[in-house]
């Protein structure tokens, strides 16, 4: 029983990790807290939903469409909106992100109504058992693995490619990066696009596992914060550690205190981690 709860927590934690991956990248590189992150997850989820219900495309295929589509949106928003205010104080980027969130959520609400929708894949209920103790649904396991693979791809892009080098250089010193010939505006746009693309992937996986609606983003943004903070900024492994921690703690907490305490537990951990471990579990101290 306990083992099953922990495994459920880990599987959900993988999805949390993917949600937070994009937010962590954007925050770490550009010092922007992307409050619209949940709204982008919602768009990714709807992208998958519409491809599934209109064309019958399998969610694990539309995953790629969702990533590319969200990358383009993210690139555009950074290039033609956020880059205009990037040097202003932190309130400004925060509120701009809030404005974007309000806009996207309500656009979705107007276009697609507040109905709760669900992607019903035929293989949604199939699972396998390990011994007689633990049952693992295939869909959840695949979502977990995809989250890890995407984290791996991110790690590769950031550490092994020329693009990754420009991103890292820009995050360390904007002016120095510019001096050595990095196109900073474009690098920022690509970074934001990558982060939003990861949000799109998370949205697709979310749509496979849970019902979706246009206002689902708010709580997902908050959970992504918790994960980023628990894991700490500045490492691709931070969100993974943070995601798994939150997943397991939430699962155990809901089991012990009841599901209505799930959010209380999550946010209490957030505040406690901020106070006692402000750099997160993996964060480097300055």
């Amino acid at each position: 029983m306990l083992l099953q709860i922990i495994i459920n927590g880990i599987l959900k934690g993988g999805l949390y990790a993917l949600m937070a991956l994009g937010m962590s990248l954007i925050w770490g590189v550009m010092n922007i807290i992307n409050i619209a992150h949940g709204a982008f997850i919602m768009l990714g989820a709807y992208c998958t939903y519409w491809f599934f219900s209109l064309v019958g495309l399998d969610p694990f295929v539309s995953l790629f469409i969702s990533i590319i589509f969200m990358f383009i949106i993210g690139y555009g928003i950074q290039r033609y909106l956020i880059n205009f205010v990037i040097r202003a104080t932190i309130f400004i980027t925060l509120i701009l992100a809030f404005g974007i969130e309000i806009f996207i959520n309500n656009l979705a609400l107007v276009m697609w109504t507040a109905d709760v929708r669900k992607v019903q894949v035929p293989y949604g209920a199939s699972n396998f058992s390990i011994g007689s103790l633990v049952t693992i649904p295939y869909v959840r396991l695949s979502a977990f693995l995809i989250a890890l693979i995407i984290a791996g791809i991110f790690y590769f892009i950031l550490n092994k490619t020329r693009l990754g080098r420009s991103i890292r250089a820009t995050s360390q010193d904007l002016d120095a990066a510019r001096l050595v010939g990095v196109d900073v505006a474009k690098t920022y746009a690509v970074t934001f696009g990558l982060g939003v693309g990861a949000a799109g992937a998370a949205g697709t996986l979310w749509a496979i596992l849970f019902p979706i609606n246009p206002m689902m983003g708010g709580i997902l943004t908050l959970k992504s914060f918790v994960v980023v903070i628990i894991g700490g900024l500045g490492s691709m492994f931070g969100p993974i550690i943070g995601g798994l921690t939150l997943g397991v703690v939430e699962a155990l907490g809901s089991n012990w205190f009841g599901t209505t305490y799930e959010n209380f537990i999550g946010f209490t951990i957030l505040v406690l981690v901020l106070i006692f471990l402000p750099k997160g579990i993996l964060g480097k101290s300055e």
Binding site: I33, L107, T268
Partner: protein, 324 residues
């Protein structure tokens, strides 16, 4: 010149005050209610301005003080039969005690980390109130009904809220002339330097947070009593925090009258949008927030102060200043 400027300001302020006192006697209930709501947001934005604007700590959880104020009043009045005149100050004090308690650990954080921590505190409190028995959990709590004709109730709340707003603005104004105000601005500009010059930064920051909490708590108490029924989702709504920050920033942070102007413009705009676009009004609201942040990040106060000429060039200059 300075003399003349002060005199003009005094005349404008006088006219506004007289208009503010006279309006409810010549208006319908709808207008009075709308104005009371605007006054409440002016209180919240001004209270946010103390910690966010002057001290430079971007609190993203200030709605928690509104919520605590509302619930302190609700519990005291409903369960203990306390009158508004006791519940109101109790709500303010309760909210500022909470600010002190939570401020001691949280105000050590800076920048984004402080913002997220306060957001976390507000969400955690919402979840807690949702589960407590004394607050009647997520079913919400009713407050005693007032024994006054409807119109007089509306006028009563209008003047009470105006009183709280006047108190907030006067205290902010006095604070700015005192050591506290200079200390807070010093902390905003450079906290380490302020500390090395002998500013007790911890005490100042906590005082500023407690003041912010106090006024928000008063607003929460009145809001709860006027509504007659509150729920955790309605008084701990993160959207209210966003609204007060947007108002403070659009009005001009770090100025006494900025948040008031911001609250008035945002409320009027939202009301007009709601009237014309029943479904899509929040969509347009989002668009307005985006445009305002990009083109006028320094707020209305910067425009009406007349230091710079307003025009297309002014709007573009703001982008040139902050783009990469």
């Amino acid at each position: 010149m300075a003399q003349k400027g002060t005199a003009t300001k005094g005349v404008i302020l006088g006219i506004l005050i007289i208009a503010g006192i006279a309006i409810p006697f010549f208006s319908g209930n709808f207008i009075i209610r709308f104005l009371t709501n605007t006054l409440m947001f002016a209180v919240l934005a001004s209270a946010w301005n103390i910690i966010g604007g002057y001290t430079g700590y971007a609190s993203f959880g200030n709605v928690v003080f509104l919520g605590i104020g509302a619930y302190v009043s609700a519990v005291l009045m409903e369960k203990e039969g306390v009158s508004l005149w006791l519940a109101l100050p109790a709500s303010g004090i309760g909210a500022s005690l909470f600010a002190v308690l939570i401020g001691m650990p949280v105000l050590r954080l800076k920048g984004h980390y402080f913002a997220i921590a306060t957001l976390g505190v507000a969400e955690a409190m919402k979840a807690l109130v949702n589960n407590l028995d004394i607050t009647e959990g997520n079913s919400g709590i009713y407050l005693p009904v007032m024994n006054l004709p409807v119109k007089e109730q509306y006028i009563f709340f209008y003047f009470m809220m105006m009183g709280v707003l006047a108190m907030t603005l006067v205290v902010t104004y006095i604070m700015l002339k005192k050591k506290l105000g200079y200390g807070l601005i010093a902390i905003r500009e450079d906290e380490e330097a302020a500390g090395s010059l002998g500013v007790n930064t911890t005490l100042f920051k906590i005082t500023s947070f407690a003041l912010s909490g106090f006024f928000s708590g008063l607003a929460g108490s009145l809001y709860a009593f006027q509504q007659g029924f509150i729920k955790p989702e309605s008084v701990f709504d993160v959207g209210i925090t966003v609204k007060m920050i947007v108002m403070a920033v659009l009005g001009g942070i770090g100025s006494v009258m900025g948040p008031l102007l911001g609250a008035m413009s945002i409320e009027v705009i939202s009301e007009i949008l709601t009237n014309y676009f029943l479904v899509a009004h929040t969509l347009f609201f989002g668009a307005i927030v985006i445009l305002a942040i990009v083109f006028t990040p320094k707020g209305i106060m910067d425009i009406i102060s007349g230091r710079k000429k307003f025009g297309l060039n002014y709007l573009l200059q703001n982008i040139r200043d902050h783009r990469i």
